[in-house]
Subunit: 624 residues, 2 copies
């Protein structure tokens, strides 16, 4: 049963203050309170309100929008605020397990306040803390308690100056010295400096440092994580042998201190190795539960999926904020009109509606996707924690990896383009710093890059789909995945035979129509990409080249269309559940149809071209 | 005869310093010096070098990229730098008349150094100064000399808090008091405050203020410009009755002090009226050489075309800078490779090439367009200055207005999207402030908004084309314009009958192919838009609504396609001139083809749809 307004608390959803938006609000065809309750649930609304009230009433969080804050001051404030968030202790560990969605909800609330704060908190707890917890063992539990009391402050040091995306080329070394039972952490040169590490610039005392583990005789066991103290917690002065510093001003998120570090033969005890995937015994032998380096590597980077899911949800936050600002402005800003005397709100212009409303729909669809994917991730992590080694668990990991690897690009780009559209749609006023659209754009921008460059990540998703197709062709395997996102592909011959027939515009105003077209599109793109890849492989020397030559015109649109289909599918199902309150069905159905049709329309050229090929199968575009 | 390298001076185009780009540079199929000479000409290269050398050697222009400068300090520095530019006196009035392209070249050089400096200089000289010169009369010449000596510093105050695009709704008043022979400048309320005025925030001593001129008996003669002193040049304190201030931090261009002003019954002498389009005689009678308010209004805002052309050229500067940064980075950054040992430059990836190279081509095509449009504008202004009242002069004004009104949107959006792509293509390093991509993006952003919001401006261009079409249909008038940008439309029935036939990819690698497709597209869009507009007019109550309902899907793509065609046409002709050095023909031809095909490809869905309608003329898309 859906929550109802009556079940709510007037204090939980108070009326908006009276103002120039009243006229538009009065014209709404639905109750916004009912929609908020349906979207969030009462418990979550209460949780978010607790957080926002605390921040509103705490002078440490007071600020002037658009203030000219120096870099140092901003970084200092952000650290103090992060510390205060720990003191508030909004989310107990029990609460986290009982209602896991509160984890991203807390991060989102912080992100609504300031991306730099969300990032700083997230990097310390969910990135540094999770890495210690999931890559370490009992001997590292002592760190966990210190993380939550902020006795130590952490960062995650993987990227180097010369290598980000290509993690296998990371060059920091950790040589084991059996005489002292220590590892010697070393940066061979400037290009191997750890780089871009969030929290490292000013405040981190400890880092999870990824380095290549070498045993005596120079046997290399590949990348392993080590916990390394980089600063004295009392003075924040660097530890001996560590050269650490702040990277300076960035395009945004300037409250976050990104840093670099070089290690000059820094000795750390044997126990600093986070030893879940490989360990060195007190006797000086390397042991690992994994058979080969590749498998070990896969596990050590497994945590990246959760980073991508977090980024996805923060991108959605940025889009939500921007679209609310732009729509409210558009409803009150009047410019031109049917006569010189009568001006109308700019929101009345079809142009303004076309620019903004699809992003409103996108915010709803992506918000739902982000929550649902987070719950999938929780399932995966619970499996890991309980030691599930089943084939299903492995498949779930691969599926979530594929969804997160395209979900982060889709959400971060949608937010980036949406915020820019909102900025422009607010005209000159949108360019004033106090109106926040610039900060949102600049703070959202790195979401397109970190935890994997968007374009590079999309290749992960297209590779996943191509792998399934290859198994189908070679072994006759079914398309089947734990979350069922690829199961429709089994019907691809009949899907590709379908023709799209509608008799009126009204027939299209249901996301089921766009959904059917999307399924067709993904089947078509998968077939074409697979053919193109094989053709390239036959005519080229290497797989590497073949894949690169397929990505622009095939792999990339395939990955994006597949993810858009998944987002549309999940939102369509969500708004067509029986539990949706009848009074919300119309508006939710419209949001779902708008997002689906708008997304699909960006593939219009592909759809036309495909239809043309079908109607003249002998004739291919000359360019192909 | 084209200039040759031999004709140049080794000091003018010195070799690049040796470094990691050498390998790529050595592989070039042409001489970059020859290309620079062809693109700019020796005289212009020398002029630009003079400017850059002066700035390089002057400590006032020293700066640290990505430095954390306070708002006040940055604004102060920018003012001092602007003053120094006047002291350098790079461009004499004679030089300006002899080689008018040096005017935008100077602005572009300043823009290459810092957009805020270019804007500050431009606003004082070409916007404030030109307004005084072209809207005033002999009695205002005394101001001109003070402008160039910077004894006074100016701004152009048209926009108000509540009205920007809709200039007719501007509400500041100027009541004439015959008793004292003064005008009383007054802001009736907060919403009528002058707003966003560049230079007004901290430094302007004088403003050209647009206000509605009222004569006794409250007869209103519409908007007129007045020169009003707003600050004491010695103390920079506001004049009595003037409330003036800085608008605070913006998304970019923070060296420029945008400001607001409210006037409380500020009295200015009768002679403050810039009286070219209307005057009040000493006896207290309003006189004007123009018959009606509309015509007067058109003349008073005529200067906006030149603003748009300047913005266009500054957007091109931003794009040039960003693409050079991104391409150089891509040629040196190595990531992944065919084997684990061998990494390749990211520029080798087809994905990176597809992301960046079209923007390189766009920079060349738009740079040429910007120069050629500036020369057209010079012709128009010379006609104005010589009192040319011919029909051709009026037509030239309309054509340039149409080209500038779509040219500014095309260039500013191309730069905006290009800079964002460059930022992302440089990965994390692109997010570091010192690498300048963020500043370029933030500084370019307002180009999409000021001097007319891009989307609003495009309507000017589509209206121009629709007006020509209406004259053709109603009076049988030929499509003919002084710059011939619309003349091809006379052949529209035969153009629309053309079919696109190529037999190989190689056949497409000439911009002539895309040019033919563009002509077809513009003819098609013009016909469809005209039909849609008439259909809307028949079914709707007002022209206002009809136009609004056509803009999104018809008027906007029409205006953009028309402008892209013009850019492609001019660049195509430019690179196919007989004077192009043979050694440059291949590379210039490729740039021209790449820009044309890339631009055209964004209309692919439209082209497919149009073809489909042609092959089944009875069948229209159900949605239309």
């Amino acid at each position: 049963m859906a929550p109802t307004v009556e079940g709510g608390d007037a204090a939980l959803l108070p009326e908006f203050p009276r103002g120039p938006l009243d006229a538009y609000r009065a014209r709404a065809s639905f109750s916004w309170k009912e929609l908020a309750l349906f979207t969030e649930g009462e418990d979550m609304l209460r949780f978010k309100k607790t957080i926002f009230s605390a921040l509103e009433n705490d002078p440490l969080f007071a600020r002037s929008p658009g203030a000219d804050l120096s870099l140092d001051k901003y970084r200092e404030l952000n650290f103090l605020r992060c510390k205060r968030i720990f003191e508030y202790d909004f989310l107990s560990v029990e609460d986290m397990f009982r209602s896991p969605l509160k984890v991203p909800a807390l991060i989102q609330c912080l992100g609504m306040y300031d991306s730099s704060l969300a990032a700083k908190y997230l990097l310390h707890t969910l990135v540094f803390g999770s890495a210690v917890y999931s890559s370490g063992s009992e001997r590292h539990l002592t760190y966990i308690q210190k993380i939550f009391s902020m006795e130590i402050f952490g960062c995650f040091a993987l990227t180097e100056l010369s290598h980000g995306s290509n993690t296998k080329a990371i060059r920091t070394t950790a040589h084991y010295d059996p005489a002292t039972k220590e590892f010697i952490i070393h940066s061979p040169d400037f290009e191997a400096a750890k780089f871009w590490v969030g929290n490292m610039g000013k405040t981190a005392t400890h880092a999870v440092v990824f380095a290549k583990l070498h045993m005596p005789g120079d046997q290399c066991h590949g990348l392993h994580p080590f916990i390394v103290q980089i600063r004295d917690p009392k003075t924040l002065l660097p530890m001996p042998g560590v050269m650490v510093g702040d990277m300076g001003k960035k395009l945004g998120q300037n409250g976050l201190d990104n840093g670099f570090a070089m290690f000059h033969k820094v000795r750390v005890p044997r126990q600093s190795l986070l030893n879940r995937m490989g360990d060195v015994t007190p006797e000086g032998t390397y042991v690992s539960p994994f058979k080969d380096v590749r498998q070990r590597f896969g596990v050590s980077l497994g945590g990246l999926s959760s980073g991508r899911v977090s980024i996805l949800s923060l991108a959605v936050v940025n889009l939500k904020l921007a679209i609310a600002i732009a729509l409210r402005f558009s409803a009150t800003r009047r410019q031109f009109g049917p006569t010189q005397e009568e001006e109308i709100a700019v929101l009345e212009y079809p142009m303004q509606q076309c620019r903004l409303l699809p992003y409103l729909a996108a915010a709803y669809a992506l918000d739902h996707f982000s929550k649902s994917l987070f719950l999938d991730l929780v399932e995966l992590q619970r499996g890991h924690a309980s030691g599930d080694c089943s084939a299903r668990q492995a498949e779930l990991g691969r599926e979530i990896h594929a969804l997160a690897s395209a979900g982060k690009p889709l959400a971060s780009w949608t937010a980036q383009q949406g915020i820019q559209e909102c900025r422009e749609a607010c005209g000159g006023h949108g360019y004033l710093a106090m109106n926040r659209l610039g900060v949102l754009r600049d703070d959202n921008d790195p979401n397109c890059t970190y935890e994997g460059d968007n374009n590079v990540l999309l290749q992960q998703t297209s590779n996943y789909l191509l792998g399934l197709r290859a198994r189908r062709v070679q072994d006759g395997a079914c398309f089947r995945s734990p979350l069922k996102s690829v199961d429709f592909l089994n019907a691809y011959p009949s899907i590709l035979d379908q023709k799209f027939e509608v008799s009126s515009v009204a027939d299209c105003l249901d996301s089921a129509v766009a959904l059917a077209a999307y399924k067709w599109l993904v089947c078509y793109l998968l077939r074409e990409t697979y053919q193109k890849l094989n053709q390239e492989k036959r005519s080229r020397s290497s797989d590497f080249e073949a894949r690169n030559n397929c990505q622009v015109s095939h792999g990339r649109p395939l990955a994006l269309a597949f993810l858009e289909l998944t987002v549309v599918q999940r939102f369509h199902e969500h708004v067509h559940q029986p539990c949706v309150p009848p009074s919300l069905r119309a508006v939710l159905g419209r949001l779902s149809a708008l997002y689906a049709l708008w997304s699909l329309s960006r593939h219009a050229a592909l759809l036309y071209r495909a239809e043309r090929r079908r109607s003249c199968p002998g004739r291919r575009d000359r360019s192909s």
